[in-house]
């Protein structure tokens, strides 16, 4: 809960600076990722989901988020990162992407960082689990590499199967 407050205060201060953006930093297995903090609505514990028939494995199902029926995706399964365990420390980042609410299961949320745009490094030509078109760039923090994800593009993509294909362009 305290994390939530922390988030919202960061959110407000983040709007003023143009040359930098704030990122929420989360971990998937041993890797560290970041996404635009303004896309995050809240962070909550993983709870019971209702499975939906004939959907990909990484779509865990739907949950009741205060009356809204919200899909939950597990990024660890999607990116083939480690074992997808579900326990009390499993975290769901609830994203609000152009008014569509999506829950994203991650191993943990570590920080919110302000990263200067100039600090971003381009992605080297390596094989990644994640299609390079969904990556904004790489950043380094405390000797750790952070992969910054264009979450809006990723969640709206065909491969996430979260949106009716008729709506995709």
């Amino acid at each position: 809960m305290s994390r939530n407050k922390e988030l919202s205060s960061h959110e407000q201060s983040g709007k003023s600076s143009l040359a930098s953006a704030e990122y929420i930093i989360f971990s998937l297995d041993t890797e560290t990722y970041g996404l635009d903090v303004l896309k995050v609505q809240e962070i909550r514990q993983y709870g019971a989901v209702t499975k939906i028939a004939n959907t990909p494995e990484f779509i865990k199902g739907v949950i009741n988020l205060r009356g809204l029926i919200v899909p939950i995706v597990d990024m660890r399964i999607k990116f083939n990162l480690g074992q997808a365990r579900y326990d009390e420390s499993t975290i769901v980042i609830v994203l609000n992407i152009s008014n569509r609410i999506i829950g994203m299961v991650v191993d943990g949320v570590t920080d919110v960082l302000e990263i200067e745009t100039s600090e971003l490094k381009a992605l080297p030509d390596i094989v990644a689990n994640i299609d390079t078109q969904y990556i904004t760039g790489l950043a380094t923090y405390e000797e750790q590499m952070i992969v910054l994800v264009d979450i809006e593009r990723l969640m709206n993509s065909h491969e996430m199967a979260l949106i009716d294909s008729a709506l995709l362009h």
């Binding site: 209702t50 939906i52 739907v62 009741n64 809204l68 029926i69 569509r100 999506i102 949106i163 009716d164």
Partner: protein, 676 residues
């Protein structure tokens, strides 16, 4: 800041629609020989409001038609012209024309100007002396009436609107253009009304801030008559202020650029109109967006769930030590239930909204077909969900057409048969638990069993003489089925009843026909009260809970081994009292893990849609309950086989089965996955 006038157009269209409906009701109920002055006034006001609004939005054709209507109505309400039946008919026709014009404007369709001209000339023709020359300048006030002479001074920028303004003011009394100068012009008005009425009339055309109204005292009037050219405003008149604006200083703004001026004029005009609408409506209702209501209903639904979670926790506590807590929770339970009920009732609208249009339709149609009918309507106050109210109109209209065209006999035949010459039509709505039952019935000829059977045979339908009456009546819902001997303009073209059935089905309702030859027929429609809530059977499948709409369930059963049959070793069938029904193996369809794969260990839920039956195999029945239907598409996407989701008392999501889609998507394909 510029105001986009179009954002108010929708309000105008809605308002105009309501006003027209109201005017029609009044017209139909008016006593021609002895008209009630208040009713005439109300019709007049409706016409006037529509005229003002349409002029504001530049809908010139509507304002032209309403202007003529208003002129005629005005003479009638002033007693200059006696009200006659032809007037009422013409007014009704005018109402239809205005309605179609409104529709055209709303949908951006070009109007038929010939139609407009035609109705205008009809309106003019009916009142031959309607266009009385009123430019007779101010005459002395008659001693018997409390008439006053007002002078209305306006900046010259309104010159273009002089004629409109004169037309408007003529409603109040006699108007004349007294003076026209470069910077301003003056109209005089002899009227019984007060200055407030003048302001509100003018508000449709001009900015009230630019208005300067002065009441001429008798002496001033005399004086003015003596020296007509003398300038105004020297102590004889009492300048009237109305909006707290400084009129004098406002006049200086005349030399503003035309654009700014246009904005200045438009803005308050529109606001004036909106305020007027609001103040009229405030008394009885407020306009709220449906989305806001849905949000409220959602939140209340959440509250109910949270509340039942607390209730569950509390029930585990020791009764004695926590008696106060338990009592409070019980209180809370009652309050939340009441809250939910009233929140849901916001979406409810009285059936009167639908009913009100039928007297007119029946009246017109009977007249056209040369038949006589009496329409009796009961239960107009019964309430139904707004979304259903809108969709029930077409099916009911269709049923009425059928009744009048095919059901009710011609007066002469009715007399021979010993019936009253006028056919009786009834429309009733009653509330039955979570359903509303709407019945349309007539005392006409009724359905002809033999004719229907012959027709069905000739169309190659599978029928036999042994079929029960009910089964025969169901045939009229078959696509393209009509027994009308003559195809008329009104009905009998062979489409209709199937559409009615489809529409009702789409609303989650059912339709039933009863008929007796020679005594009439009645059609009963049963609809759920709301689309947002449904009665559902909750069933277990593996560790998931699914909801099956109760309205589709015929029965549930656990079959015996010998009742399960296979077709070509794959497709499963169950024999229910001699009838073979295909089994849909839900866990196979949904790829869901479950312990129960043998139909004899699980439960079969027999469902029926569109005369197709199927037995859905589930693990177990959990219970029946009201569920709040939520869309999966809002944040996710459409999932084949599911029509939505709902939230159970434990806060978990249960999925609602889309039974018609499951039945349609080929039963054999899915049942093949079953293992016995």
């Amino acid at each position: 800041m510029t105001i986009d006038i179009n954002q108010f157009a929708q309000i105008f269209f809605e308002e105009a629609g309501e006003l027209l409906a109201e005017a029609e009701q009044l017209l139909l109920s008016i006593d021609v020989l002895n008209p009630d002055a208040e009713q005439l006034n109300a019709i007049f006001r409706a016409a006037h409001s529509i005229k003002g609004g349409s002029a504001t939005f530049g809908l010139n054709e509507i304002s032209a038609v309403t202007h003529e209507l208003e002129t005629l109505l005005d003479r009638i309400r002033k007693g200059e012209l006696p009200l006659q039946e032809i007037h009422v008919d013409l007014f009704l026709l005018t109402k239809d024309v205005i309605e179609s014009l409104l529709n055209n404007y709303q949908n951006g369709i070009a109007n038929d100007s010939a139609l407009v001209q035609d109705i205008i000339s009809q309106l003019q023709a009916i009142a031959p002396t309607a266009s009385v020359e009123k430019n007779k300048s101010t005459c002395a006030p008659s001693p018997n009436r409390e008439e006053n002479v007002y002078e209305i001074e306006l900046p010259a920028s309104y010159v273009a609107e002089i004629n409109d303004l004169q037309g408007e003011l003529a409603i109040l009394g006699e108007v004349a253009l007294v003076e026209q100068k470069e910077e301003h012009f003056v109209l005089s008005l002899l009227t019984e009304e007060n200055e407030q009425s003048i302001v509100s009339i003018c508000a449709f055309i001009v900015d009230t801030k630019d208005l300067k109204i002065t009441r001429l005292t008798n002496s001033a009037l005399k004086r003015q008559a003596d020296t007509p050219n003398e300038n105004l405003g020297y102590g004889f008149f009492e300048p009237l202020t109305f909006s707290g604006e400084n009129i004098e200083s406002d006049e200086k703004t005349v030399d503003l650029s035309p654009v700014v001026l246009a904005q200045r004029r438009q803005k308050p005009t529109v606001q004036g109109k909106i305020e007027k609408i609001m103040s009229q409506k405030e008394l009885s209702s407020i306009r709220v967006e449906v989305e806001k209501i849905d949000l409220l209903i959602n939140l209340v639904g959440e509250l109910i769930i949270t509340q039942s979670m607390i209730e569950q926790q509390v029930s585990l506590l020791d009764q004695k030590t926590h008696i106060n807590l338990i009592n409070s929770i019980n209180q809370l339970t009652r309050n939340t239930r009441d809250l939910q009920e009233s929140a849901l009732s916001i979406r409810m609208m009285p059936m009167n909204y639908v009913f009100s249009r039928f007297p007119r339709m029946v009246h017109d149609l009977s007249a056209r077909l040369g038949k006589q009918t009496t329409l009796v309507m009961t239960g107009a106050t019964t309430e139904l969900d707004k979304s259903l109210i809108e969709r029930i109109v077409d099916p009911l209209t269709h049923l009425f057409r059928n009744c009048i065209d095919h059901g009710i006999e011609m007066p002469a035949i009715r007399k021979q048969l010993g019936k009253s010459e006028a056919g009786n039509l009834t429309l009733s709505a009653t509330n039955r638990g979570s359903h509303i039952v709407i019945e349309v019935s007539d005392d006409g000829a009724g359905l002809d069993r033999q004719l229907i059977l012959n027709k069905a045979l000739s169309r190659g339908l599978n029928v036999s003489e042994k079929m029960s009456d009910n089964e025969v009546w169901q045939l009229i819902f078959a696509p393209g089925f009509s027994t009308a001997e003559v195809v008329t303009e009104v009905s009998g073209r062979g489409f209709g009843m199937d559409v009615v059935k489809q529409n009702i089905g789409a609303m989650g309702g059912t339709i039933m026909v009863k008929s007796a030859r020679g005594y009439g027929m009645s059609v009963t429609i049963s609809l759920p009260l709301t689309l947002a809530i449904m009665r559902g059977m909750t069933v277990a499948l593996g560790d998931n809970v699914y909801v099956i709409p109760m309205s589709l369930i015929i029965e549930t059963l656990r079959p015996q081994v010998e009742e399960i049959k296979t077709v070509t070793g794959q497709g499963l069938m169950v024999s229910v009292r001699g009838e073979y029904i295909p089994i849909i193996v839900l866990h196979a369809l949904f790829n869901q893990k479950t312990e129960i794969t043998n139909p004899c260990k699980g439960v079969l839920v027999i469902v029926e849609t569109d005369d197709k039956k199927a037995a859905i195999l589930v693990d177990a029945l959990l219970g029946q309950q009201q569920v709040v239907i939520k869309s999966l598409e809002t944040h996710f996407k459409r999932i084949p086989g599911l029509s939505g989701a709902t939230i159970m008392a434990d806060g978990l999501v249960a999925l609602i089965l889309d039974v018609p889609a499951i039945l349609q998507s080929g039963q054999h394909q899915y049942s093949s996955g079953a293992k016995q």
